[in-house]
C-alpha cells in the first residue's frame, strides 16, 4: 500500500507508547462478497497496542469490533476477508502469511478469550489435559514440564486447590472459574498479544470484577498487549488504558480512556456516554441517540453518523471525515467538528 493510500484510509499515526507496538493495524477493511454486491463491514481501521497495554474497543452490535479482533487472529468466517490494510505483530506483517504459518501464530503469539468459556473448552478432556496439549503444541517441552507449567498457570489465574482441580472436567467448574481456565489457556504459550472478546459478558457482576482485575494483573506482569472487545463501557473504564469507539465499521474516536469517558469529542461517543444511566445521581430522562445504526446495505453517504447526529452540517452529508488528532489533545476523532467545521463545503 502506498503512502497516499494509507492516508486516504485514515491511517493517521496514533499516539503510541515509547516501546515498539506489539500490534499495528493499518487501514483494515473487512469485506463480505454477497450476491448483491460487496458489503464493507469495517474500513480504514487503524490502531496500535504497546506491550502491557490494554486497548478497549467499544461499539454497538454490528459496529465491527468483533470482526476487527477476528481479522487480527485470522479467523474471519469465509466469505468474509481482509480486503485491504495490513496487520503487523511484533514488527512482522502477518495478514498475508499462508494459512499454515498463520495457524502457528494463533495460540503461540496471539491468545484468544471468548465470551462463553464453555464453548472454548472441550467437554471430554480434563482442563489439565487441554492445557498440557496446548503448551506442548506450541512449546518444545516434555509431558512433565508441560504439566508443571499447566499447574503454575492455573495457580497464576487464581484457581484454588490447583493440584486437584487440574484433573477436573470443564463442567465441574463454575462460570467464573471456567473463564479463569480459558485465560490460562490463552496465556499457555506466553503470547505477546491477547484478543479478549466480551470476556466478562456471560458472568455475574461480582465475578466480572474478579476476571477484569485478573486480566489486568496478568497483562501487566507478562507485558502482554490486550485487545479488549466489549460493549460494556464500565468494563473498559476499569480495565483499559486507551479506548477505541467504533461506529458502522469505523473507529470514530480513539484516545486515553479517561479522556474519552470524561470529554468525548465525537458526537456519537458523547451520546453513548450520556445514555449510560449513572450511579451517582438519577436523571429524569436518559439521553438517547435517536434512530439506530445503519445496516451495511444502506450505509449513508458522507459521515455514517450524520443522520443521527445533532451537530451535522452540509459537509457531513457529502464527505466522510478521517480519524485525526483533535487539535491540542491526545485523542483522535473522525469528525468535521474538529477538522475545520461542519459547514465548509467538501474539497
Amino acid at each position: 500500500m502506498t503512502h497516499s493510500a494509507a492516508e486516504a484510509r485514515g491511517a493517521t499515526p496514533l499516539p503510541s507508547p515509547a516501546a515498539r507496538p506489539v500490534l499495528e493495524v493499518r487501514g483494515a477493511r473487512v469485506e463480505f462478497p454477497t450476491r448483491r454486491g460487496t458489503l464493507v463491514a469495517t474500513d480504514g481501521v487503524s490502531f496500535d497496542i504497546g506491550p502491557g497495554e490494554i486497548l478497549g474497543m467499544v461499539g454497538e452490535s454490528g459496529a465491527g469490533k468483533s470482526l476487527t479482533g477476528m481479522a487480527v487472529i485470522g479467523l474471519l468466517e469465509p466469505p468474509g476477508r481482509l480486503a485491504a490494510g495490513e496487520i503487523h505483530l511484533d514488527g512482522e506483517r502477518i495478514d498475508n502469511l499462508p494459512p499454515r504459518r498463520r495457524q502457528a501464530i494463533r495460540g503461540r503469539r496471539i491468545g484468544a478469550i471468548f465470551q462463553d468459556p464453555l464453548t472454548s473448552l472441550h467437554p471430554l478432556f480434563t482442563v489439565g489435559r487441554q492445557l498440557v496439549e496446548t503448551i506442548r503444541f506450541h512449546l518444545d517441552v516434555s509431558e512433565k514440564e508441560g504439566r508443571e507449567r499447566a499447574l503454575a498457570l492455573l495457580k497464576d489465574v487464581g484457581i484454588p486447590a490447583a493440584e486437584e482441580r487440574i484433573n477436573h472436567y470443564p463442567h465441574q467448574f463454575s462460570g467464573g472459574m471456567r473463564q479463569r481456565v480459558v485465560i490460562a489457556l490463552a496465556l499457555a504459550a506466553n503470547p505477546s498479544l491477547v484478543i479478549a472478546d466480551e470476556p466478562t459478558t456471560a458472568l455475574d457482576v461480582s465475578i466480572q470484577a474478579q476476571i477484569t482485575a485478573l486480566l489486568k494483573r496478568l497483562c501487566r506482569e507478562h507485558g502482554t498487549a490486550v485487545l479488549l472487545v466489549t460493549h460494556d463501557m464500565g468494563v473498559i473504564a476499569e480495565t483499559a488504558d486507551r479506548v477505541a469507539v467504533m461506529y458502522a465499521g469505523r473507529i470514530v474516536e480513539i484516545g486515553p480512556v479517561l479522556d474519552v469517558i470524561r470529554r468525548p469529542r465525537h458526537p456519537y461517543s458523547r451520546g453513548l456516554m450520556a445514555s449510560i444511566p449513572g450511579l451517582r445521581e438519577r436523571a429524569e430522562r436518559l439521553n438517547q441517540i435517536e434512530g439506530s445504526m445503519p445496516r451495511l446495505t444502506t450505509m449513508p453517504p458522507g459521515c455514517a453518523f450524520h443522520p443521527r447526529c445533532p451537530e451535522a452540517g452540509p459537509r457531513c452529508h457529502v464527505a466522510r471525515p478521517m480519524l485525526a488528532a483533535v487539535p491540542g489533545e491526545v485523542t483522535s476523532a473522525a469528525c468535521w467538528l474538529h477538522q475545520g467545521g461542519v459547514t465548509r463545503a467538501a474539497q
Partner: protein, 334 residues
Amino acid sequence: MPRNNAATAAPLLEVEDLACWFDISPPLMERMLEGKPRQILKAVDGVSFSVARGTTLSIVGESGCGKSTIARLLVGLHKPTRGSIRFSQGAHGALRVQMIFQDPYASLNPRWRVGDIVAEPIRTLKLRPDEAATRRRVDELLSLVGLSPADGRKYPHEFSGGQRQRISIARALATEAEFLVCDEPTSALDVSVQAQILNLMRDLQRKFGLTYVFISHNLSVVRHMSERVAVMYLGRLVEEAAAETLFADPRHPYTRLLLDTIPDLEAPNRHRQPMGGEVPSPIAPPPGCTFHPRCPLVREACRKGRPDLRLMPDGARLACIATQEAEARLAVPA
C-alpha cells in the same frame, strides 16, 4: 411523579411468604440403586414484598438468586409452593398483568405480522367491538411505542432488537394491562438503544400510571427506573429499601459488595474490594445466613440462625444479624 411513597399508597400487589421449590431429584430407580437422596432446589424461599400503584419495584441479584422465578410466579407461569400473591382490583375488574421478556427475538412469533401480534390480545379478550376498531387500536399502540402504523404490516425479523422490544411493550399494553413484570427487558440491547427503551417505559408509566416489577442485574439501570429496590441472595430478600436510600446507604454486606463491584464510570479504578468467592449452589445452601461464607462481618450467630427480614425505623427492611445489632446499639445508647 410521586416517589418513595410505597408505605403510604395502597399497594397494587402484595406478596407474602412466597416460595417456589423445584424437585430436581435423580430418577426413582437411580435414587434406590445408588442411595441418592431427594434434592429440592429452593429457588424462592419465603419472600414478602408489596408494590404501590404507579411505582416500580426492582429486584436485583446474581444469576440463580431466584429473581426470574419471582417474575414467572407473578404472571402465573409457575405455581407457588407456598405463600400468596394478591393483586388489588384493576380499572376493568380483575387486574391485568403482562410480562416483558428479556429476549425480543424469542418472544415474538416470527410467522405473524406485527399488527396481528399486537391485535391478538385485543381479539382474544374482545376489547374492541369490531375489526375496524381493533385495527385503529393497533395503530394507536404502535404510535404510542414510537413505531409507525405502517410497521404493523411487517414481520418481526424486519426490526432491530430495540424495535422488537417496543413491539413487546405494545402487545403488553394491548391487554389494557396496568401491571407489567419486566424480566431484564434491556439486557439484550445496546446501551444507546437501552436508553430509548428505558425512557419509553418511564413515559408510559407516567402517562398511564403503570406499575412495574423490574428484574435486572444491572444496578445503574435499576437505580434509574425504581422507587424501591429489593436485593435477593439465594432465594431470599436480604434488603429492601427506597432506591435513594439503598444506593446512598447500602446496609446489608451483600448489597455493599454488589455496589462496590460494579464499575463506576465517574470514578473508575476507585479503591474497592472485589468480592471474594462465588454464589454457593442453591441446591445445598450454607446453614444459617446463606451469605455468611462470603461476609466480612460474619459472627458465630450467622452460622447458626437465619436472619429475618426486619423492618428498620426508616422503613427499609434488612436481613442481617450483625447490621441489625449494630443499628440497635446506636439507636439505644447504653
